[in-house]
Symmetry: C2
Subunit: 338 residues, 2 copies
């Protein structure tokens, strides 16, 4: 059984087996509200009445809750449960399979970091692929680069795209850029059909590795991404929390080290409404022109797009800082990366 | 009414008045558990059965919850409610007035950062004062410095000290260092009685500015701290969350800028069990030998204490990174600081 390494006192060796998670049920969030019809919403049970509580085997024993003003949408796509609600202090919230994907208040941190960490690290990106990211927020950030000519996005769930366009116009605005082509389908199949060396950058904006995004955390997927990248091309993938998922991160780092012959790095940032308040990213480059992710060569915060729509979170200083890890995480990641 | 500046879309101007907070009730957390006697614990109401939920006017509309294995202590001191419980995944948890102060799993981040950010920034600290910090965790970290001869701590609430010694031995171990003198009393009064220029560093490890710690966020207190410091001495104070409390931070920065004629800086770190997942620190120095907080001159991670008891969180890289702020926070803080 793989054990999770956690911070904390040595005499408190908190351990969790991978099997426990893999065999776990899907994220089982709970919400109890009166819907417009005055009846309790289907398929949900009471925790804090009037609050959405995020409970999942991915973060056992803890739950973050947001107060609900109104549920705006509840649907079941071919892939997952989709919900949108108006929260009392975080704006509108998008929830997939019971897990918060974004809130209007803090989405800037995630979208700006997952996009600009890779794209500021290479000169003049021209072709970019986004896997997942159906809400359009990553597209909005990718579109800031005038050098880019082609932005493909492959999202498996059309309902996420439609719901984002309806309820999150400031996020879905990314779809309005004429360089964007939306492909609704499986990201793994899409990547397999891509001619080798097509993209300068691939951004994998996935949900957690239980549910539809599971394959996006596995070695064959990373191999397919590497093939789709030009020499010296870069990938940035959502890579969970150093506080909660060191054993998942350890595996991702080990896999990436085998596949990406350029550089392999882990970065992280704060997102209050994600479990443990942080989320990480794997940043890798293929063999070819060297990429030094820690020292951005293509600073977007000096770019013209800043004038009309300033960045809220990202800047060049926080880019470099994102690669500095707490000692407990650094020890594990460095051991796998070298 | 002062408005809070928050990240998020421009058409979602989340605002909260300062009056709302000042007039707010005290932190009103809720917990529902069976105690050893089989009866429901006194003074607590049912929310999520078996979970502790942290609800407060300091972070309206959201709540973090931890699953309780067992309540170990509940008391009422002259100053606040004190509770300790065994959580299912964060180890033991200390709660004051319904707000989580530390968990065994993530206390390393807070204690190491609030201590080593100031002490690594000056050469050879000799005399250090801790205000608050009754749990002893900051003392444990201060004690790593062999140059230090005298460590005073002034904690208002003896119950916090006693409870920590009983339930958190790996934290309260700080009290065992022979250089430590505990003063039980009011930190403000203690500081007023200190001869000018006594300390090389003052660390203010306070709870939130509603409740007993309120004065520790006000201008007269900072003036008293400045008087107690030697020229070129440093202070580090707990300074809330950039995601939740920018208007409090704005005031603290403005006050410090008037009082501390050396440097004035804001740094921050991740603590999963604090609201929004982050906590910040004000780091200031008095007029005298210049202090460049961003470039530590006294690296503790190269120190001998590392061998017997390695740092879990802090290192020199994360020290420097802690001063890099997201754009939305940088804009506000830089405007006040310069």
């Amino acid at each position: 059984m793989a054990e999770e390494i956690v911070a904390g006192s040595a005499d408190f060796p908190l351990k969790r087996s991978r099997e426990e998670e893999e065999n776990g049920v899907y994220a089982a969030s709970t919400v109890s509200v009166e819907t417009d019809t005055g009846k309790e919403a289907d398929g949900v049970s009471a925790v804090i009445p009037g609050w959405f509580s995020e409970i999942s085997p991915m973060w056992p024993g803890e739950a973050h809750s947001l107060k609900i003003e109104k549920i705006l949408f509840q649907g079941k796509s071919d892939y997952q449960d989709v919900m949108v609600f108006q929260s009392s202090t975080y704006g509108k919230v998008l929830v997939l399979d019971g897990v918060i994907q974004l809130t209007e208040r803090d989405e800037c941190a995630y979208q700006e970091m997952i996009t600009h960490l890779p794209l500021c690290s290479i000169p003049n990106p021209v072709k970019v692929l986004v896997i997942g990211g159906g809400d359009g927020g990553v597209l909005r950030e990718v579109a800031r680069y005038s050098s880019i000519e082609k932005i493909d996005i492959c999202e498996i769930d059309k309902m996420v795209v439609d719901v984002s366009k309806q309820f999150f116009p400031a996020v879905a605005v990314g779809y309005e850029d004429p360089r964007v082509t939306l492909h609704v389908g499986d990201g793994v199949a899409f990547l397999k059909a891509v001619p080798a060396g097509t993209y300068d950058a691939v951004i994998v904006d996935s949900s957690d590795p239980i549910g539809p995004a599971q394959e996006l955390f596995e070695k064959p997927f990373f191999q397919t991404v590497a093939n789709a990248l030009r020499p010296g091309g870069v990938v940035c993938t959502q890579a969970e929390s150093i506080w909660l998922h060191m054993h998942i991160i350890e595996d991702i780092v080990a896999n990436c080290r085998q596949i990406f012959k350029g550089s392999v790095n882990y970065a992280w940032t704060t997102v209050p409404t994600y479990p443990s308040g942080v989320i990480g990213f794997m940043l890798c480059s293929t063999e070819g022109p060297a990429v030094d992710f820690k020292h951005p060569v293509n600073p977007i915060d000096a770019n013209d797009s800043q004038k009309s729509r300033p960045l809220k979170f990202y800047n060049s200083e926080i880019h470099t800082a994102a690669f500095c890890l707490p000692s407990f995480a650094k020890k594990v990641i460095d051991a796998k990366a070298n």
